[in-house]
Structure formats: structure tokens, C-alpha cells
Symmetry: D2
Subunit: 394 residues, 4 copies
């Protein structure tokens, strides 16, 4: 297919040229003074992205690995945790916990909302014996486009006076949606490189609190690769206990610079603007956004429900073949019923509008019942919603 | 400014990643056997793009240099040539000729059409003494978005029975608009690297006929850098008489492969589809396309007239600052009155629609009187005009 | 420091430009048909490098992760395994096993040889009860420069009639030293990307036998990230159960092509030639190669013993500051006493000779007692030892 | 051929990775404010490299083009100039002048020295009528490895009280050999991108004095592409009169930063050290350096005379095929008799020593009579000649 591909899945997000160039630097000795400078730069810089002054651990791994790391460092076989079924990825994280012998209380959900702080609070309040060792939620459900209100969940835990650890998956929200590891007293924040950080996949992250570290000193889960203790000891000098993914770290350093140049708050605002425009398009088409609760609709991606009788994957295939655009598929129990539009990372207004044009034309090509005017609605949204940095030029 | 820049000027066109990677290969000895293979590949491959079996000369230069090369290899001081004022670039080429002591008969034009075959034919018919040594026209006027009908001009020359050389500037049309050096018996075709060939600027081209070579053996203009004779002698073995721009040649080799993969005829058809969509947008906005003659409207760029009292450069500045899109400025006598939308090279449907969205929003931001609906019109055009390669998927 | 850095550590090895360019391609949807082609290419291509027709599992991880994967997929807490203390990395692998509750019988070694097949055979013969579940050896000890004779160890296991699994770490030997997963009936071959495969760090590998797969179906170690079963199920279609490190896979695909172009056997022969030249230099300097047994001296790196009273790390620092060359440090119990010269991956004769020149000059700068003539000896070795591909040109 | 190629021709020199990455940035609008910043940076930065406060003109061209530019901007047909036959490139420059109708007095030379200041002074002194309009010399004869003493020639011109313009070709010396456009009152300094500037070929330079500009206002040579007047007018705002080679300008900007980081004087000293080491090797081999005059031996390259009866090109072919190293051929009247070793640009000690190892082994392979020990002599030279930046580490 000719010309630039529009990669509008909710991650991996397109890697900016600037990061690709940074990653093309020659590999260096990972035990050298030069490496230590790089190591320190990314270990410290990552903290600013998680809004924490506590340690951030970086693994050569996928985000899935970072999920596992959070579990094996803090929990012991037989422990009970509380999770919320926000969608496919919450379900996967639960499966990992189960594999490690964790009892998971899974608050059921219909995949159309974030985790419910009230339900979590209720369950914790009922747990007088404090059997629940951790509350584990997904900040941004990549499979649905619903964000969980982490601050409210923190409040619910506090209100219940419950000592459970608080673990949050920010794989698809970090550096795209406002997130505050320290302020919200999250104990383990899990993340990955290939979404808001605009890197290729290959790095997993754990931001860890003092409380989490304390738990890691007494839990009984065997571990080595994921072990925080050895990692943090060696990280102190800018090094890693085993060979790090040096070229991805070059990219991470550049990504952090780019986020700082734009300003994290502006990055978040931009994602909000793009998401609002995307939802305006979906509404104009007469289609339904999967996430029902407006305050929980994701700044990162928009899940769209297909009209009954229309297959989302057939539609996605037509979009790809006719317009060279990749859209995200429905996963798990919404497979075939939902497609997802990613608008994260280096996405900007014109890229999104090009993408929405592709969706609008493909809806017609595929014979999906809809009204035209989605792109126009998105333009109106961007124009009236702070899209322009400059209203006019003198 | 954040995210991918939309470079929608009519050249340089965005360089595909694939070509940038090819250009990043290590430089090699330009006198080695390995180089000779590269040299032969690009010298032969370029012929397919010009549709010629005759020699193509490649200079380390801008397209301007290739204009000069055409002149100094074939004409002598005091010679008379016939040119047509199609716009700014025809005017510049004329100025170069004048600097070399050429008398230029310049058929006046209003910059809203291509060169007029009838006017050229008349003038040649009147030149019984055959004082006119060459007819020199610009195939695609980058400053206006008007193409000249080269085949018709060839016919006019033939009908006049005139022996003038025929020289055509294809700097902004080659590899974007159908062009046939041999079939149209063009004597010198001038081109450059940074438009349809999707390369950075830095290479100039002359495709030369036997008749042009014969002229070059008897004309009296001093020359060295641009001299065809030395170049062709050394090119025969895949080498160049002076150090070539090796890394741009790497890119040229890749560009030729990309054009062959898509197929030249499909490349031309794609440019036609995109141009039609762009004009549909302009019409829907209620604005005027600079080129008045539908059959001469350019597949490469669309020049748009600003409403009276509105400055095109102010509008372009707003578009750049608000939406990170570069549009072409009006040049020469249409400066400030015209802006130009490039849709050439690796441009595809969604890139164009993103760009047109930027134009439509910027028109509003700038307070330029227009109707909304341009992007919608462009989508309709692309959808009904062969835009999709595949109408539907089973 | 000016000019090209000589990265002569025993890995990460310098990444060829060609691989860096491959890795700079845009990331794609890891659930797309285009990705499936990539996935199949690297999964199948990797088999040729391990010389196996059985599955190869690829993790986004360091080699350390692949060590852990071998353990958690096949063993159960309380199992006993037999390992040989060949050096620092054997010691680290043992520590990982211990962390997972494995009893390790560690045949002691003085770090100057590979694993002793006879000692392994004896120990297995004595294990009438077949308590030993696995024999785990390091093929090429990166910390010392000694290779273990894997075929001979296989023979010793067979001779003892022992059913233990056979697991081999080839992190620093794969694609540099002859290795035959199937022929030697290895059950799990562990490897990594950043040595003979010439990639940046970030990929771990397990090649697994039927017998290993059978063990993985009945062992009791909890696992998720490293689990073969899920991986192999999804790999069958060219996909991965979690987001793969796409850009490293681009590089892997290119690396496999490069190895095939040169031919694996010629790759091995080249490493042998370079290693012999390096040892000739060390001998000429009057220094001692750490590995005492000539038949076990590594084709990948040469460990060099410092004369008493001279600190290897001070010497390495001088070499780096004066000549812009990185040499490997002594690790673990030979720290400060040994430096290591890497000659692996894309290394060729002139690169090695440049590196040896740096070592020879730095020995003088550092006041290390030695004789000159190392580089001359290396040149003699390369000239007389098949260094040239072509003896002479007609 | 496997592994890193040693490109040891006297230009194009290997392009550092860092510059290749800079050149891979996306092309931008050459009429934008962003471009103007780039334009100003390279136009101003180039002055520091020429050691001038006067204008530097940058062409999309080879160095050959910059030769031509110097001629057509300052001379008129029929003018007489004085040149010195230092080698092949002086001869080529003369041929260009002749093609433009210039009378060239060519002081003969044997290609084993730089231009003779005394001979030039004599000839000028004899030219009472001041018929000679310009003295044109090559600073570093790339074909031989002899440098001309530009300051001494300036003195000779002054001593003769002659008003001739002084034009110097620094194509292969700029940024490698000390050069002072202003201090030496050179009127036109000609240069190119692919040697000391470490860029790919494709940029030509003219640094021009007030006197040269005055000459350009009254000479009668027709010109357009090379015309300084238009160039300087537009350069004032950071722009160019025709499309510049943007990506090469990205590289130039980075190259200037790299030269400043190392320090120009240290760059020159490094080239001197490497050249001395190379000559020490040649002497040790018992071969003869082409340049007879020690004070004129080039810091950039070393021309080596083959023993009688041995063909230099056969030797070079063996070196290339056996050791993957490119050496420069003999050109013009020393073809087949001379080979050239480049040691310029990003070359450093270990790269040179690797290269010399290749030469020494290839001499043996080719059966060229020589003594061993060249590399050893070069090491001794580098060790005793300020090679190390740091004598020792505490």
C-alpha cells in the first residue's frame, strides 16, 4: 500500500522519527561510565513521567512482564487480591495472578466503564480481617477505552481504612493521561514503552512505593529476573544487574526530553482534545462509543460499537485495504463487535482528522449504516476546543 | 509544534522513511566496482522514469542547475528561443537563458493556464528563417498548478515543420504526471530529485535526445560542470567524471524501485485522484482554483486564489502555527494572493484529507470567507473516483 | 573521544549499520497479517541458527530472562540439577536456579577451562536414583573465554545412561561458535540477541526439545511471562501472546539474512581465525591467556591475565582514554586480574588488528610488563591462517 | 565482504554515524522560518571552518562545481592566470579554466611537491604589465599527498607587489589541515563536503573576499547557477536563491558542531599525528612516500610509490578482496605507480592502525618487496607523538 501508513491502533503508537534516530546510535559498553550517565538519565527522567520521587524499575520486557513483576515482588501464593473487570486487559492481569497462586476477587463489569470506586470501597469495608492484600486496577482499559478514576479509588481505600497495597496498570495511559504515582499513593504502577512514551515495545516499568518495597522484603514468591532488590541496588550507580536494552534506553531518554519540551500537562490536554474530537465524530456518525460514562472516556483511544449485524473485523480489513489505516480490533468478549481508534503518543490534530476520514470512507465502503459528517464534527470540536495553540496571527 | 508535520508544499515533498534509510548507507569509493553497479542501476533506472531509451544525465545540483545545463549544452550566445510565460518558474528559466546571452521570445501568459500549443505553433510557422533554435516549456508550473500539454506542443512544432529543439522542464511533474520523453520526441527533459522522485533536493537531471547531442557538439557556449560529453563518456562504465552525490544516488535507486513496485501508471492515477479531491475541496469552500482550464489543472499541486482583501501569507502562517502544516506561498506576481497545496510524491488519501482538514480549519481561524464542507467533498471525490483499491472485502 | 569507538567487549557486540537501518523501520500492528509474516520469518529463521527443527521461543528480555525461562518451564522446587563452575556466568545461572528452590550440585572449577565431560559423567553415573533432573552448562563462558565441549558432555550423559535434561547457555556463542541443538540432543538452548546475532540487547531465546516440552507439561513451577505453552500456541500463526519487541525482530530478520549470506560455517571459521590471531598477540606480548586448555579457548573472546601487581581495570581505563577502545573487565573472582578482548559478531581482521594495536600501545602506556610484537604476531596468524579469502588476484 | 569496510581513500571519507543520523531528519520547507535558522547556522558556522569573517557560498554541487564557480565569478574570457602543476587535480582545475577561455600559465611540476612559492613569485615579478589576473593553487593535492604552503605563496605575491587574485583549492584540506582564509588574504577558497567535513559528497563551497566580490562585479563571464551576487543577497536572510540540498545542510550543521567540540586546532594536530604514523609505516616497509619534501607531506593522505614492476592497482585489488579495505588509486600520470592511504575526517589511531595492518598484509599477499614492521613503526610514532590524550591514569 502506497504512502504513509496510518497506525491508529491504541499502541504500539507510531515512533517519532526523532526517537528512531536516537535508537540508531551505536550500542555501548553497559558497564562503562558513559552508560552510567545514560542509566541515571533514564532512571531519574522516568520518575518525572510517573510523577514520583520514588524508584522506577525498568525491565527489558513487555508490559505483561511488568504486570508479573508487580505480583511476584509483593504477593505470596494464597494471597487474596481485589480486581475489577474493566475489560480484556484486566482479565489478562487477573489470569497472571491466578497462575501465581493468587486468589482474585474479580468485581464483575460490563466492559463499558472504568473500575467502580464505590464497589471497591464496599468490598474493602467488608474485609474486616484484611485478607485482601492488594487492590489492582487498570487505569486505561486499552480494550475498551474506559479510564478508571484512580484518585477516587485511592479515596475509597482510605475511607475503608484498608491497608491493601494499591497497584495500577498504566501501560496505555502513562504520558497520555494525567497520572500521579506519589500524590495518589499508588504502591506499584505498572507501565510499558510502546504507548504514550512513543517507543517501540520492549521496556516494562514498575514505579514502587516504600510500602511496596516493604512487602517485597517479606513476601514468599520466588523470583529473579523481576526482583526489585537487586535491580535497585545496582541502579543506584546508573547500571543494571543484567544487560539492559541499551538502544531502547536511548529512545527513552529522547522521549522524556520530548515530553518535557511539550510539557506533560499540555501532552495530557492534547490527548483530551483529540479524544473529544474523535468522540464527536463517532456521535455524528450515529455510532456508539463503547465507554458509557463520559467522565471515564479515554483520552488515548475510542472504542466504537458496530451496529448489529456488522462485523468489526471485516470493516477494519476494508479500512486497511482501501485507505492504508490500521484500527484496533475488538478483544475478548467484544471481538468482532468493536473497533478501536487510537489517538495517542505523537498523534496530532491533522493525523487524527486524516484517520477519521479513513474511518468515515471505510464505513461507507463497508456498507455500515452511519451518517456522514464525522470528520466535520471532529473539526468543529478541535476548532472550538483549544485545538489551535494560537487563535490568530497579527 | 507537536507530532508529525504535514509538509504540503509542492516540493520538496516528504521523503519516505524507506528512502531516508537507503540514504543512510555508508559512503563508498566512487571509483570502485561496487559503485559502478550503483551507477549503472540509477542511470538505467532513471530512463524508465523519463520513458526513454536515450541517455539521462545526473548532476549533483538543484533543478535550476539542470535548467542551465540544458541551455549551455545546446545553445550559443545570440540564439533565439521561444518560451511561454506559464508562471514564476518559466520566468526564472527565461532569466537564466538571458544571462547566457539567449534572446527569448516570451509568449505572455496570465499564470492561469499551461503553455498554449496554438500560440507556439503560430509563432513557429511565422519563423520561416528558423531563427528559433529551441522551444522551451515548463510541463508543470509549480508556481500555479497548471500543466502544459507537451504532446500537443510537440504536434504544433511538427505541424509548423520547424526544426527547433524541444526542451521541457519536468522538475515538478516527473514521476507524478504522465511524461514520455521518447514518444513526444523531447530533446532535453530537465528534472530534479525533490518532487515526484521523493528524494531530498540535490540531484538535477537532463534526459537528452540524439538531436540535442548533435546540437551540443556544435554550439559555442563554454561549459565544464554541465558538459554532457564528458559525463556520458564516463557514465558508460557506471562512473561519473567528478565525485557524485553517492548517498542521494542510494536514495534514487530506492525511489526507482518504489515507483516500479507501485507502477508508474498507478502513480500517475493516484496523483490524478488526489488532485481531483483537492479541487473538490476548494470548490466546496467557494474558493477559486488558480488554473482556469480544467484539462490543465495539475495532478501535483493546487493553487488557490485568496478572496480579495485576504493575505495568503497570513493565512499560511496561521495554518502552520495552529495545525503544523506547511502550505506553498504565492510566488512572483501572485505573491500574497495565492497559496498552494502540494499533493505529490508519497502523498496518499488520508494524508491529503488530514491536510485539507488543516486548510479548512485555518480558513476559519483566519477569518477567510468560505463555506465548510471541503473535506467532505474531497472524501466524496476519493470515494467515487477509484480512491479505494478494493471496493469491498468479501 | 574522537572517531569510531572500538567496542571490543565480549558483547554487546557492535551492531552493523545494516541492522540499525532495519530496526529503524516504522512499528506495525502486532496483530496484522504483515506482522505475521515477520513473526514467521524470525521464528523459522532462528531455527537455522540453532541448527534445530524444533521450536525456538523468543522473549522480549535479556539473556538472563532466557536462563530463568529454561528453569521455570522444566524444573520444580526441590529438584536437583548438575552444573559446572566454568566462571561468573555459570555462577549467576546457578544463583537463579537457587532462587527458584532448585538444589544445585556445582562441580567446582578454577575458571580456566570449560566444563569437564568426565566429571559430569562420573557424577551422573553415581546418581543411580536419577535424582538429577538436569545438566546445565555454559557453552561459552563470557567471563573467561573458555568453551565447554557440548558434544562430549552429551556423550557423557548418554554413557551414564542418565535421563537428565540437558540445558546449554549459548548466550555468547550462538552464531559465533559451531552449535547443534538437534544433533547434540540439547533439551533447552538458552541465548540472547546481543552477541553473535549482532543485535542490540533485548531478545532472549529458548530452543526447546520434545523432551523439554514434556517436562514443561508436568513441572510445578508457577510461570506466566516465560511460559512456553502459550507462546508456542500463538507462535504457530506468526504472532506472540503479548506485545513483541517488533523493532528488534526487524533486526533479527536482517541478522539472519546476513548470517546466511556469509554462511554459518564461514562465520564460525572467521571467529576461529580472529581468536587464533588474538591469542598469538597475547602470547607474543608474553601475557597469559586465561583459558589453559587450547581446545577450549573461545572463538568469541580472549581473557588475558594481568601480570601480578598490575590492575586490569586501570589498564582498561588507560586504553579507553588514550585509544577510544572498550575492553571487557574481569568479573567475579577474577575482577581486576583479567581483561577480555571481544572478537565476535561483525568483527573482521582489520578491526581486530586495530583493537590489538590499541591494547599493545595501552600496555606500554600503563607500564604493564610485556614484549612488543603482538600485532605483528596477529598479522602473521591471519596471513597464514586462511585470513584472506583470496590468496592473490590474477 | 564481511564486517566493517575500511574506507581509506582520501575522500569521500567515512561519514560518522552522528552525521548520517542528522541527515535522516525530515526535509522541511526551504522558504520557512525554520529553514532560515538552519541556513544562518550553516552559513555562519562555515565561516569558522574557513577562518573567515567574509561570506561563504554553499552550492549543491561537487567540489568541481566550486572550482568552476571561482573561475566564472572572477575571470573573463581571455584572461591569464598562473597555476602550478602539483598533480592530477591541479591539472583538472586548469582544464576547466581553459574550457572557459582562460589562458593558463602552468608552472610545471613533478607531482612530488606542493606549489613552489619562489617560482610563483618570480613569474609574478616578471609580469610587469599585470596580465596575470589570478594565482590559483591547490592546497592539498589529493592525487599525490603534497600540500602547498599557502602562507608562503601569499608572501610571494605580496613581495612581487602583484595585484592578482589569489584562489586556493582546499577541497581535501579544509577542516583537516590548518587553513586561514582571512589571515592569508585568499580571495577565493574553494572546497567540498566529502573530506574533512565528513559529509557525503554534494556540497561545494566558495569563501570570497571583498576583492573577489569586486572582481565579480566587473568580469564578463556569463553565469547563473554559480553567481555569487544573487546567492549572497538571498543568503542574508538564511535562504538560498534555488532549492538547497537541505539534508546535506543538516549534516553540515552537525559536522560544524563536531569540529567545534573537538576543536579545530586539535583536529589539525590529530591529522598531523596520523599522517606521521602512516609515513613511519611506509618508511619501515622500505617504500617511498610520493611527496619528497617533508614539510609538504600531507596530513590528509599519504601517496606511496610502488616498487618498479609492481602494479598499484593489482595491489589495491588484493587489499580490497583479502581485507575489505579501499585504498586510493594513482591518478593521471602516476596511475598504476602509486597508491594512496587516506587518514582524514573521522579517522583515529586505531582505525589507521587497522588500515595499515591491511596494507602490510596485502603487500605480502601481493608479493610486493617490503620489510615487515610498518604497523609497529606507526604504533611507535603514535605512542611517542602525542597520540594519547592522557599519558596515564592515576
Amino acid at each position: 500500500m502506497q504512502g504513509r501508513h496510518f497506525l491508529q491502533i491504541p499502541g504500539p503508537s507510531p515512533v517519532p522519527d526523532r526517537i528512531l534516530r536516537a535508537m540508531a546510535m551505536p550500542v555501548i559498553d553497559h558497564r562503562s561510565a558513559e552508560f552510567a550517565e545514560l542509566g541515571k538519565a533514564v532512571l531519574e527522567g522516568s520518575k518525572t513521567v510517573f510523577k514520583t520521587t520514588q524508584p522506577v524499575v525498568i525491565y527489558p520486557s513487555s508490559g505483561t512482564g511488568a504486570w508479573e513483576a508487580a505480583i511476584v515482588n509483593t504477593l505470596s501464593p494464597g494471597d487474596t487480591v481485589l480486581m475489577a473487570e474493566t475489560g480484556h486487559f484486566a482479565t489478562l492481569w487477573r489470569q497472571i495472578a491466578v497462575k501465581f497462586g493468587i486468589e482474585v476477587e474479580f468485581i464483575p463489569g460490563d466492559w463499558r466503564r472504568g473500575a467502580d470506586p464505590a464497589a471497591i470501597g464496599e468490598r474493602l469495608a467488608a474485609d474486616k480481617a484484611h485478607r485482601i492484600k492488594a487492590v489492582m486496577v487498570v487505569h486505561n482499559e486499552t480494550s475498551t477505552g474506559a479510564t478508571s478514576r484512580v484518585a477516587a479509588i485511592r479515596q475509597a481505600i482510605d475511607d475503608a481504612g484498608h491497608p491493601a497495597l494499591f497497584m495500577v496498570d498504566t501501560i496505555s495511559s502513562l504520558a497520555s493521561v494525567d497520572y500521579r504515582h506519589d500524590e495518589w499513593r499508588v504502591d506499584v504502577t505498572v507501565s510499558g514503552s510502546q504507548k504514550g512514551l512513543m517507543l517501540p515495545p520492549g521496556l516494562g516499568f514498575n514505579a514502587v512505593s516504600e510500602k511496596a518495597l516493604a512487602a517485597s522484603r517479606s513476601n514468599s514468591m520466588p523470583r529473579s529476573y523481576w526482583d526489585w532488590a537487586e535491580m535497585l541496588k545496582i541502579n543506584a550507580n546508573g547500571f543494571f544487574p543484567y544487560t539492559p536494552a541499551t538502544n531502547l534506553l536511548y529512545g527513552l531518554k529522547e522521549a522524556i526530553v520530548m515530553l518535557q519540551e511539550e510539557g506533560l500537562e499540555e501532552v495530557f490536554a492534547r490527548h483530551q482534545r483529540l479524544a473529544a474530537a474523535c468522540r464527536a465524530a463517532v456521535k455524528a456518525w450515529g455510532l456508539e462509543v463503547l465507554c458509557e460514562e463520559p467522565s471515564e472516556q479515554s483520552p488515548v483511544l475510542t472504542g466504537v460499537l458496530m451496529p448489529d449485524g456488522h462485523d468489526a473485523d471485516r470493516f477494519r480489513k476494508i479500512a486497511l485495504e482501501n485507505y492504508n489505516i490500521s484500527l484496533g480490533s475488538g478483544l475478548g468478549k467484544v471481538a468482532g463487535k468493536v473497533f478501536r481508534i487510537g489517538h495517542l503518543g505523537e498523534c496530532n490534530a491533522l493525523t487524527l482528522l486524516g484517520a477519521l476520514s479513513g474511518v468515515e470512507m471505510a464505513l461507507a465502503d463497508a456498507g455500515v449504516p452511519h451518517r456522514a459528517g464525522g470528520v466535520a464534527a471532529a473539526m468543529a470540536s478541535l476548532q472550538g476546543n483549544g485545538g489551535p495553540k494560537v487563535a490568530a496571527v497579527a
